[in-house]
């Protein structure tokens, strides 16, 4: 099942007003082609810690989950927002527009973004996760239902392609493209759109990543299934700010 069919499914399924559908449709039509930031991206199925497929409909509302994609060491936030997140155009680090294809799964509410801050590369590690999605309004940013990087208070909108709402970041987090199989309810990560920062990320953290993921494994692309779990179960400290 492709993302497009999934989106069509979503439109039929959720049966929002014609206006909403028209707006979403217009966004899709007017949009430039997605900026696939990676050649031949791996296709990875999301599974839970017990190895069973992660069912999209079982992902809790306001989930702040993590998995690794497209490399073994590169973290991704998997989020379920409350309202449908329609496709929209956002701008990359060079000011070039690209299409963020919107949420997938139930109500088009499941989204995923690289958990590597577009400002200064702070990221989510086992020890500490600096980027988190929270429903409640946080003290540092004054926003709720956003992704905040607590190192320098960059704030991103998960329901809008991770566009920057506040703070020093200048462009959105890289989007991880998702597919939802309506028949099996499984989720797949299939690519990256926007400004990926993997080269800079590996350069900045080589030492730490080698220690945590293995000397050469840290930059190996994922294959097959990848494990997704709540950030609170992965990181010793999911920073709130």
């Amino acid at each position: 099942m492709t993302r497009e069919t999934d989106r069509r499914g979503f439109m039929k399924l959720c049966g929002k007003t014609a206006v909403a559908a028209a707006v979403a449709g217009a966004a899709v039509r007017s949009a430039t082609a997605p900026a696939f930031a990676l050649d031949n991206p791996p296709r990875a199925r999301l599974v839970t810690a017990d190895g069973k497929p992660l069912m999209a409909s079982r992902l809790p509302m306001h989930a702040n989950w993590i998995f690794h994609y497209p490399y073994e060491s590169t973290p991704v936030l998997l989020i379920r927002v409350e309202d449908p997140a329609p496709a929209m155009d956002v701008e990359d680090r060079d000011g070039k527009a690209y299409t963020w294809p919107g949420g997938v799964g139930p109500g088009g509410s499941i989204v995923a973004y690289a958990a590597i801050c577009a400002h200064a590369l702070s990221y989510d590690s086992k020890e500490t996760s600096f980027l988190n999605y929270r429903r409640k309004r946080n003290e540092m940013s004054g926003h709720g239902r956003v992704i905040t990087c607590c190192a320098h208070a960059s704030v991103y909108d998960p329901a809008a392609g991770a566009r920057v709402l506040a703070g020093p970041a200048k462009f959105p987090l890289a989007a991880v493209l998702l597919e939802h199989d309506e028949k099996t309810d499984e989720l797949f990560a299939t690519g990256i759109a926007g400004s990926e920062l993997y080269k800079e990320f590996f350069k900045a953290y080589r030492k730490d990543l080698r220690k945590e993921f293995g000397r050469s494994k840290y930059r190996k692309r994922v294959e097959g299934d990848v494990t997704a779990m709540p950030v609170s179960g992965y990181s010793e400290d999911a920073i709130e700010c």
């Binding site: 200064a120 590369l121 702070s122 500490t128 607590c150 190192a151 320098h152 920073i239 700010c241």
Partner: protein, 449 residues
């Protein structure tokens, strides 16, 4: 350091007298030997030659100073206009970070977190680092004279930082100012001052370790309070029978007051004494005491922080605002240019606007100013934006807990500059402690990689 002539000046005059006699003798000798020996130049040095630099590859921009402002400026000038040929002039051979240095003094982080390579910063970001100092500027010809030779430029950004004003501590004699600076260094211009303070703490066995808060707009508003907390934590951990005495001319901490006062009371009451509304009016190096309006305070050791001023070079170049009590640069507050000269900019802690003199302010300001200069070079203007002051303070060296503030600035006609968009988290936490350290790491990445 300011005013380092005076007593040594007497010595200089004696020396000059002697030199005059010698040169008269040499002159006589030359007359005799005329035609046989080439005449020696009376004054020689690098000011009369070009710096060893290749021909500029585009418009040349000089950045004076390799602190948080200069490093960010150099990187983003090049990023915002890849055709710029950027040369950063910085005399130090290694970058030593003042932000996070209190954490090192308190044994919370290692020294290598604070040290970074100018070579790598320049290589990674496509500019040239010239190890030297600016000494003269010909703004008409656009020629900068440095200890490494002169450089012709299209634009120059002055980010020289601060110097200390020891007269503010009642120490007016220059020789005495040098003694105070060497005996009890302030530790807000890294790194020898910091290495000295660290050695003092390593050697400290008992008694009072004296710190103070200066008057005026000093570098790192929470710095003295954070340092007091982290030294108190260190004394506790090491079982040292000592306490920090922090003298503050203000009634309460100048920033994050509630967070600091809570930490003083709840965590450090056995090792920290906070005295408010006290001004230091004199320092007695030999007797190890300071004089205040309320009597003397004796100490076993100290780090004394004088009022700061813009680095002396700003005044030497005739660019200081005579009305500024801290001799800061006179610039258009929204364009950063000096009056009548669109090719000379002043940024960082030498700026006249009453922004927090902090690393984060200098970094975010340089992002904006570099954009302005890149636009100006193409005959365009970009609107002013506020720099951002994100400022963490660790108040607990044992539990590694921090507090924070995040603020921007706005200008209101009739009122002047004020804070806006202020977010204050004064409840200390370990999570903010982690964010505190990551804050520094992120900005080192922004400047060096």
């Amino acid at each position: 350091m300011t005013k380092n002539t005076g007593k040594t000046g007497l010595g200089r005059r004696d020396f000059l007298k002697g030199a005059a006699l010698a040169s008269a003798g040499a002159g006589a000798g030359l007359t005799v030997a005329a035609g046989a020996t080439p005449a020696l130049a009376a004054v020689a040095g690098p000011l009369s030659r070009a710096a060893d630099l290749p021909k500029p590859s585009g418009q040349r921009v000089i950045v004076v100073g390799g602190g948080w402002s200069g490093l960010t400026m150099s990187k983003y000038l090049k990023k915002n206009n890849p055709k710029f040929d950027v040369v950063m002039i910085e005399p130090n051979s290694t970058f030593f970070s003042c932000p996070l240095s209190n954490l090192w003094l308190g044994d919370v982080v290692d020294l290598d977190l604070l040290l970074h390579s100018y070579t790598d910063a320049a290589k990674n970001n496509g500019y040239t680092w010239l190890q030297g100092m600016l000494v003269q500027l010909d703004r008409e010809k656009r020629r900068a004279f440095t200890t490494a030779g002169y450089i012709d430029y299209d634009y120059i950004v002055l980010s020289p930082g601060i110097d200390y004003n020891y007269a503010s501590l009642g120490v007016k004699d220059p020789a005495e100012a040098i003694r105070v600076a060497q005996s009890y260094p302030a530790g807000f211009k890294p790194g020898s001052e910091h290495l000295s303070i660290k050695a003092k703490l390593d050697d400290f066995e008992e008694g009072v370790f004296l710190l103070n808060v200066p008057t005026g707009n000093y570098r790192c508003l929470p710095g003295p309070y954070e340092r007091a907390c982290l030294i108190a934590s260190y004394f506790k951990r090491e079982g040292i029978k000592g306490k920090v005495v922090l003298l503050d001319p203000n009634e309460k901490p100048t920033i994050k007051a509630d967070g600091f006062l809570a930490a003083f009371k709840e965590l450090h009451k056995d090792h920290l004494e906070y005295r408010t509304a006290v001004n230091i009016t004199g320092v007695d190096v030999d007797k190890k005491k300071v004089v205040t309006e309320f009597g003397e305070v004796e100490f076993a050791d100290a780090a004394l922080y004088p009022r700061v001023r813009a680095a002396r070079i700003i005044q030497d170049l005739g660019l200081a605002d005579p009305k500024s009590p801290q001799m800061e640069g006179k610039i258009d507050n929204f364009k950063y240019t000096v009056p009548g000269d669109d090719h000379t900019y002043i940024a960082g802690d030498a700026r006249p606007m009453p922004f927090s003199k902090s690393g984060n302010t200098a970094n975010t300001e340089a992002h904006i100013v570099s954009k302005m200069i890149a636009a100006r070079a193409q005959g365009k203007d970009v609107p002013w934006e506020s720099p951002n002051t994100i400022c963490y303070s660790m108040v607990d060296g044992e539990g590694k807990q921090s507090i924070m503030v995040d603020a921007k600035y706005k200008f209101t006609k009739g009122k002047g500059w004020g804070f806006t968009d202020v977010k204050l988290i004064e409840k200390r936490s370990k999570q903010l402690g982690k964010a505190n350290i990551e804050w520094g790491k992120g900005l080192y990445r922004d400047m060096f990689s």
